[in-house]
């Protein structure tokens, strides 16, 4: 039974170490602020952040910011999946479409999504739509290219075996191509979700009137520095929750990939 005990203790050991390093960091940050270490002197200390926390948590405006950020992220993200996944699969299935669409995509992809903010503001009637459009762009390119890569990496022999069994084209798509591409679709979603949170924060800082990004920037402009850290932490948690949800979805969608 020695090895079983060893396995359990090693996880608790690494947990303990993790805790030590995180606490150590917080303490260093606190001391750094108090003793005005270089770089840390202007940054609000953990204790100050905690003090400001109960004020913020109380008022509903803070939670509205959570809701507006999430609604923007989800609408932009959902749109990117709804359009991106079919486009990726189509490009994988038909060579002409791939030759036609890939170069334009390849030219637009390297342009950082946030560079689109001004153009998006000019084009869309409301800032809300302009932010959602930029979020959509951020996730769209990621999803299309990941799904395309996944769909084209299907082992040729699986498609040939399916054809030998007399599969109709619709069998090939629904029973072979789609399930085989599912892992890449999930990866595309996970990475896409990460990008959307990066984009929503900046877009809200630049052009937003609400949302966690706006809250963080407004706290800075308003001189309420401890709230900045609360804003940052909230965005971090929100991002973590959304990609966590994607990972959960992924596990259920690809049961065959679980370790034995």
């Amino acid at each position: 039974m020695a090895t079983a005990a060893f396995a359990k203790s090693s996880t608790t050991l690494s947990l303990r170490r993790g805790l030590v390093s995180v606490l150590g960091l917080l303490v260093f940050w606190e001391i750094g602020r108090r003793l005005h270490f270089p770089f840390l002197s202007a940054v609000p200390a953990p204790t100050e952040v905690l003090a400001s926390l109960d004020k913020i948590v109380g008022n509903s405006k803070f939670w509205n910011d959570w809701i507006s950020s999430f609604s923007r992220v989800l609408s932009g993200f959902a749109l990117a999946q709804l359009i991106g996944i079919p486009v990726g699969l189509l490009m994988a299935m038909s060579r002409t479409l791939r030759y036609l669409w890939f170069p334009p995509l390849e030219i637009l992809r390297p342009i950082p999504p946030l560079a689109w903010v001004p153009t998006s503001i000019i084009f869309w009637p409301t800032t809300e739509l302009s932010i959602i459009f930029v979020i959509f762009l951020g996730a769209f390119f990621t999803v299309v290219l990941t799904v395309l890569g996944g769909a084209r990496a299907i082992d040729e022999r699986l498609i040939r075996a399916a054809r030998s069994f007399g599969s109709k084209p619709r069998d090939i798509f629904w029973r072979i191509v789609l399930p085989a591409t599912m892992p890449s679709i999930i990866t595309g979603m996970a990475v896409g979700m990460g990008v959307t949170w990066e984009v929503v924060v900046a877009a809200e800082m630049i052009a937003g009137k609400s949302g966690l990004g706006y809250f963080t920037w407004a706290s800075y402009v308003g001189g309420n520095y401890p709230q900045i850290i609360v804003g940052m932490a909230s965005i971090g948690i929100a991002g973590y929750l959304s990609s966590g949800a994607i990972r959960l979805l992924g596990k259920r969608a690809t049961p065959w990939q679980r370790r034995i």
Binding site: M1, A2, T3, A4, A7, R259
Partner: protein, 277 residues
């Protein structure tokens, strides 16, 4: 005259090993005991999942054992909880090969002496060059491993092991992925190297013919949990060549071993046993 080995005695005493793949507490090896004399070519045969690789890893020091003791020349090297660091005295030749893909053949072979500080890198390289030539592998010193055929890669790996003059050579199914004829050549290469340096060899295989052709003694292991079920002595004398494959004694030994392993193999085959180590 082939040299007689003075060192390299391995004593395995009631060794057991319990694995814990996600809490399943699987008994891989159950109370194995065997004594291997210096210079003996000992072969372990058994179906997948019978724990032969576990034994090899324990001797090599890659993991510890749950109970019992393994000692080399009288000195304990593996007991529950502690296992001696892997070292050049117990050189391993791995199943799917472990030549460093990022360094040339020469640097691979010279790696041992250089890191052990036994020689400057130039001396090590000349020594490696000499050994490669001696083993009929000259001219490929500056190539990368993936440019070589599998037969060639295997021989370079054996050269990389031998240059360190180990007490024990541990081979984990080294010729598994080869077609029958290439395997024959690689086996003869190993035998010739063995006759020249006469080290203790601990050889694992699924291939019964290979076991008889190479070994002085063949230990047959049961399917999981692995126990040593039967021992066969193979006295063909040395040096051997492939002619013994058609001798009467070879064929009778082969059918004897096949019977011993057969029902173990079928049970493993049915249950879909897989290697744990």
């Amino acid at each position: 005259m082939t040299p007689v080995a003075a060192t390299g005695a391995i004593n395995i005493r009631n060794v057991s090993k319990i694995y814990d793949p996600d809490g399943a507490n699987v008994l891989a090896v159950d109370n194995c005991s065997v004594d291997i004399a210096p210079g003996e070519f000992c072969v372990i045969v058994g179906p997948s999942g019978c724990g032969k690789t576990t034994l090899l890893n324990a001797i090599a020091g890659f993991h510890d054992i749950s109970s019992g003791e393994i000692s080399l020349d009288g000195k304990p090297i593996c007991t529950p909880g502690i296992s001696a660091e892997p070292g050049a005295d117990r050189m391993v030749v791995f199943q799917n090969g472990a030549l460093f893909p990022w360094s040339t053949v020469l640097n691979n072979v010279a790696y041992g002496p250089v890191v052990q500080g036994a020689a400057t890198s130039t001396d090590a390289k000349t020594k490696a060059q000499a050994l490669l030539a001696e083993l009929g592998l000259s001219g490929i010193g500056d190539r990368y491993p993936n440019e070589l055929s599998s037969g060639m890669r295997r021989r370079v790996e054996i050269a990389r092991a031998l240059i360190n003059d180990p007490k024990v050579l541990l081979l984990d199914e080294p010729f598994r992925a080869m077609d029958a004829l290439t395997k024959g050549v690689a086996q003869e290469f190993l035998l010739q190297a063995y006759d020249r340096v006469r080290k203790t060899v601990f050889f694992i295989t699924h291939d019964l013919e290979e076991a008889i052709f190479l070994g002085d003694r063949v230990l047959v292991m049961t399917t999981r949990p692995g126990r040593i079920k039967q021992t066969l002595h193979v006295d063909f004398g040395r040096p051997r060549n492939y002619k013994i494959r058609s001798s009467r004694q070879y064929l009778s030994l082969k059918s004897q071993i096949f019977e011993a392993v057969r029902e173990e193999a079928v049970r493993a085959f049915e249950a879909g046993e897989r290697e744990l180590a």
